[in-house]
């Protein structure tokens, strides 16, 4: 019987939305307040959905394994960091769309105990982005 396990995590990080491919003016027009040169921060909420058959222990996967993986690979990597200084964003703008994609790719590579179904990232309680398999 296939079930979907959803788990929420939190981390805080700062960023500045600024593209090297645009002029200063274009950046200001495109990103507005998010283009402030000194950056700003968010409390991100990450929702990870994994799926699979429920095993003899009543589990899609061991929650401790999922927690360990997400903590190690995502939360520790980005919590209390300036995203613009991270190598993952050396060539891209750390929008929440791009951050969501980066996290999806990291978890797809590093978590093998169940199928990665969806990554949903809330930048604020008013906006969220998600990527499904």
């Amino acid at each position: 019987m296939k079930a979907y396990l959803n788990r929420r995590y939190r981390f805080s990080a700062s960023h500045r939305l600024h593209s090297e491919h645009m002029s200063e003016k274009e950046n200001r027009v495109t990103y507005g307040k998010c283009n402030n040169p000194h950056g700003h921060g968010h409390n991100y909420v990450l929702e990870v959905t994994v799926s699979g058959p429920v095993d003899e222990n009543g589990m899609v996967c061991n929650l401790a394994d999922l927690d360990d993986c997400v903590q190690r690979e995502v939360v520790t990597r980005f919590d209390l960091e300036n995203l613009n200084t991270r190598p993952e964003f050396a060539n891209s703008v750390p929008t929440t769309e791009n951050l969501c994609t980066v996290i999806y790719d990291i978890l797809k590579r590093s978590f093998r105990a169940a199928h990665l179904e969806k990554v949903r990232l809330e930048e604020t309680m008013m906006n969220a982005f998600e990527i499904s398999s």
């Binding site: 079930a3 979907y4 396990l5 959803n6 788990r7 929420r8 003899e56 009543g58 589990m59 401790a64």
Partner: protein, 136 residues
């Protein structure tokens, strides 16, 4: 097709133990959740049904009937109960959130006739919840 979701809350206790495994393996796998005296949660249940809108009533489902079905089939059996000892499904299955979602589906699906059960979502807490869509 429209989807309607109704929420309910119930409080229950449980513990995790697989009799096929040694005490050490149970402890390693389930950690603090394996304490046989149990521990509790305030579960939040979301039941989503789907169907066409009845042109006479404007309803996908009679909400009062859905509420009564959820109360009778789920809350009366599970609210303020020790799931391992008082809910028959968990005499043989471990009352994880996954198995709880499946058990609730199996209780509700045959009782819902007009609207079809689409999803059972069970929150063990704000940060952990399971979705079950029946046999896919």
């Amino acid at each position: 097709m429209l989807y309607l979701t109704r929420k309910a809350e119930f409080a229950a206790s449980h513990y995790y133990h697989n009799p096929e495994l040694s005490p050490e393996e149970n402890q390693r796998l389930f950690g603090k959740c394996s304490n046989p005296n149990g521990h509790g949660h305030n579960y939040v249940l979301e039941v989503t049904v789907k169907g066409e809108v009845d042109p006479r009533s404007g309803f996908v489902v009679d909400l009062k009937q859905l509420k009564e079905t959820m109360n009778r089939e789920v809350l009366d059996a599970m609210d303020h109960r020790f799931l391992n000892k008082e809910v028959p499904e968990f005499a043989t299955r471990i009352p994880t959130t996954e198995n709880l979602a499946i058990a609730i589906w199996q209780r509700l699906a045959p009782k819902l006739t007009k609207a079809k059960l689409h999803r059972v979502r069970v929150y063990e807490n704000h940060d952990l919840f399971v979705d079950y869509y029946g046999e896919e």
